[in-house]
């Protein structure tokens, strides 16, 4: 008798556990096919994607896209674990830089065979973006944008400091000294304002360093090998780029600004550098600003950037019908590139860039040319941890704890540990 009771308890607790893990059925209450769509967008971007998804859901009554916002900090960890547990999303956003890592984990399907069903044309992408989503010869995602690192200027303050021409364009000489002199003039003219707002550490300095390093003619960080890359970073140019950037800190950039977006947004900074996504945020405020590409100060045309892409994570029991719906939704988002560009991004497709809907939007059409100059990351599974290593080493340099030489050597050491060399 007791034995039976014991068994019952085991069964009951097991049932409880299984009940808690029950899968979503894949359909909504009113019988529409439900597709889970994971995104990590925040602030500005999110509302534009929401609008696109809402429009899609209202445009037909067969498929319902359930857009789920995941926290950015451990987004990829969640994608990997959920797909591993066969509870992943049907569609998800990924950065192009992370595709090799996800592909190597066995999470992704090549998208071209799936997209072929909705007659999607991969020829619409420029070469560098098309290559950015290819891993070992196959495309693993559909890019929806390019988002380069650019410069924002507060027009009112710039005018006050005499940094604008009569026609309102920046009096900015495209040379290393010219770029710095621009902000030095701002500093002298407006001593109680921040000439250039950017964090001393963190990913934005890394983006800036990346731009300068490649503009100076730097070689790729890694050799072209997915799993066993060699470190091909040019130490001398890396040091030179870090030295150049370091000379701004404590001079025209205050050390360790708490919130560098806020500083600019409150009208206390003449310039700011970050990704294009800030455009959409500030258009919503009444700030008078300009968004321009980072000046071409050195010999080589290059810019830092990445691309938001849509991936189709592997699911064990995905039906052809659902795959068809997935492909149609992805094609829809891709077609709506001009609406997505309202966030500030540059559409991935050349036909969308050429469209009047996009060309009529302020700033974007001016910085859209940067998309073709973006140097994407190397195809290695170590890209994300390597980025952390590089961010940390640059942090040490910019905050004066290490000299540029020591900092870059530390970066190289960390990259060797990360790539197990």
């Amino acid at each position: 008798m007791k034995h039976v009771f014991g068994k019952f308890a085991v069964l009951a607790s097991a049932a409880l556990l299984l009940g808690a893990c029950a899968q979503t059925t894949g359909t909504t209450g009113d019988g529409r096919m439900k597709l889970d769509y994971w995104v990590f967008f925040s602030g500005g971007d999110l509302s534009y994607m929401e609008a696109i998804v809402d429009d899609y859901n209202n445009s037909q009554d067969e498929v319902y896209i359930d857009m789920i916002l995941q926290d950015w900090d451990d987004y990829y960890t969640k994608v990997v674990t959920s797909v591993a547990a066969d509870r992943g999303p049907d569609i998800a956003v990924s950065h192009a830089a992370t595709l090799p890592q996800l592909m190597n984990q066995g999470l992704l399907e090549p998208v071209e065979p799936i997209m072929a069903e909705s007659e999607f044309d991969f020829g619409l992408f420029p070469d560098n973006i098309r290559e950015a989503v290819e891993v070992e010869g196959a495309a693993y995602a559909v890019p929806i944008d390019t988002h380069p690192f650019i410069l924002y200027i507060n027009n009112d303050l710039a005018e006050e400091a005499g940094l604008l021409d009569e026609d309102g364009s920046l009096k900015l000489d495209e040379s290393p000294q010219g770029f710095k002199a621009f902000f030095q003039q701002a500093k002298e003219a407006l001593p109680d304002k921040t000439p250039l707002s950017i964090s001393t550490g963190g990913v934005d300095v890394y983006r800036w360093w990346w731009t300068v390093y490649f503009q100076m003619g730097g070689t790729p960080i890694f050799s072209d090998d997915l799993r066993e890359p060699e470190i091909t970073l040019d130490r001398e140019i890396a040091i030179e780029a870090a030295t150049y950037i370091h000379s701004f800190f404590g001079d025209v950039i205050p050390m360790h600004i708490g919130d560098f977006y806020e500083t600019f947004q409150a009208g206390n900074a003449v310039g700011l550098m970050t990704g294009v996504w800030a455009t959409g945020i500030w258009e919503g405020s009444d700030m008078n600003f300009t968004a321009v590409p980072l000046p071409q100060s050195f010999e080589v045309e290059a810019a830092q950037g990445d691309s938001h892409t849509l991936i189709i994570p592997i699911k064990e029991e995905q039906t052809a019908e659902r795959q068809q719906a997935i492909a149609e939704f992805i094609a829809y988002v891709s077609d709506r590139g001009a609406d997505w560009a309202k966030a500030g991004h540059i559409p991935a497709r050349t036909d969308v860039v050429a469209s009047p809907e996009f060309q009529q939007q302020p700033f974007r059409s001016e910085y859209a040319e940067v998309a073709s100059k973006v140097v994407f990351t190397d195809k290695t599974i170590y890209q994300n941890p390597a980025e952390t290593d590089m961010v940390r080493a640059l942090d040490e340099i910019m905050s004066n704890r290490l000299s540029p030489e020591e900092g870059i050597d530390q970066m190289l050491d960390a990259l060797r540990v990360t790539t197990r060399q």
């Binding site: 007791k2 009771f5 014991g6 308890a9 085991v10 009951a12 607790s13 451990d74 960890t77 990997v80 674990t81 591993a84 984990q105 066995g106 999470l107 001393t200 550490g201 205050p254 050390m255 360790h256 600004i257 708490g258 919130d259 994300n384 941890p385 952390t388 940390r392 080493a393 942090d395 040490e396 905050s399 704890r401 540990v417 990360t418």
Partner: protein, 293 residues
């Protein structure tokens, strides 16, 4: 007669079995699973090849591991004594028979109920340069500099320890307060009859009576401090550079950012061994027959 005892002994079993199942499933099983993981190359997706003790061997050569381990040890050494002594002082204050008693108890314990994300964001907000309240107060008192609390390694440690202290000391205080109230009044009455001063009462009665609970608090605090993680992740993310990265953050990075669960598990086991040894030493040293209380 004998059979009846046997049946009596079995009576609680059905009530315990649900807990036992959960305990085996969520505590015992993961312990052995983790041990198995540490012997394999293991990603989040799949178990790969058996590598034996290679992860442990690599650990010993990994400078990042030793740095992180050193950081954690530093935190333990700095935070544990302050955490115990301050808790005692606060408990003594909260035990005074004044009108402020309730206020003390409430205000000392209140931070403990906040979540780690809340206290971390408050800390970042208060400690940031130029606009943070801490620097503004210091400058109002004539400080002529802009201290970068979270961007200077030594100051970052001071900040983390101060925040942790403020956040968690209330729990230890409650333990002390309970123990203080458990000291029999007769002891003090007898001491008063014998003409002892308040100081003598404290050193001869209060402190010895608190010794057992102090040992417990000390042990719990060391274990808790070795596991420091969330507030550092949120406040400095191990920075500047890696100078405040504790061992658990490194384990987290290896496991959930680089998907190297085997290596992360090996590190966890090394930490587990250290904590086990520390606990055993403390239990041996403490109290009669190895008892804590």
């Amino acid at each position: 007669m004998k059979k009846l005892t046997w049946r009596d002994d079995l009576r609680p079993v059905p009530f315990l079995i649900a807990f036992f199942v959960a305990y085996v499933l969520f505590t015992v099983y993961p312990i052995f699973k983790g041990m198995q993981m540490s012997l394999f190359n293991w990603t989040l997706i799949e178990q790969q090849d058996f590598v034996g003790l290679a992860h442990y061997a690599n650990l010993l050569k990994d400078p990042n591991f030793w740095e992180a381990f050193g950081n954690t040890t530093l935190f333990v050494v700095l935070s544990t004594p302050t955490m115990v002594i301050l808790a005692l002082v606060l408990a003594l204050m909260a035990n005074l028979n004044t009108k402020l008693k309730t206020f003390f108890r409430g205000s000392f314990f209140l931070p403990s109920i906040l979540s780690v994300s809340v206290i971390s964001f408050v800390a970042i907000f208060m400690l940031q340069p130029y606009t943070g309240v801490v620097n503004n107060i210091l400058q109002a008192f004539g400080l002529d500099k802009e201290p970068f609390w979270l961007a200077t390694p030594s100051l970052a440690w001071v900040s983390i320890i101060a925040v942790t202290l403020w956040w968690t000391v209330g729990f230890n205080m409650i333990l002390y307060l309970t123990a203080l109230q458990g000291i029999p009044d007769e002891l003090y009455e007898a001491a008063e009859v014998d003409g002892a001063t308040r100081q003598q009462m404290f050193w001869r009665i209060t402190l010895p009576q608190l010794l057992p609970i102090s040992r417990l608090i000390f042990l719990l605090q060391i274990l808790a401090s070795f596991k420091v993680f969330a507030q550092i992740l949120l406040i400095t993310d191990g920075g500047p550079g890696t100078s405040t990265r504790p061992i658990i953050l490194y384990i987290y990075e290896m496991g959930f950012e680089r998907y190297d669960l085997g290596y992360a598990a090996a590190m966890s086991y090394l930490l587990f061994m250290v904590l086990l040894v520390l606990s055993v030493i403390q239990l041996r040293l403490g109290g009669k027959e190895g008892r804590l209380l």
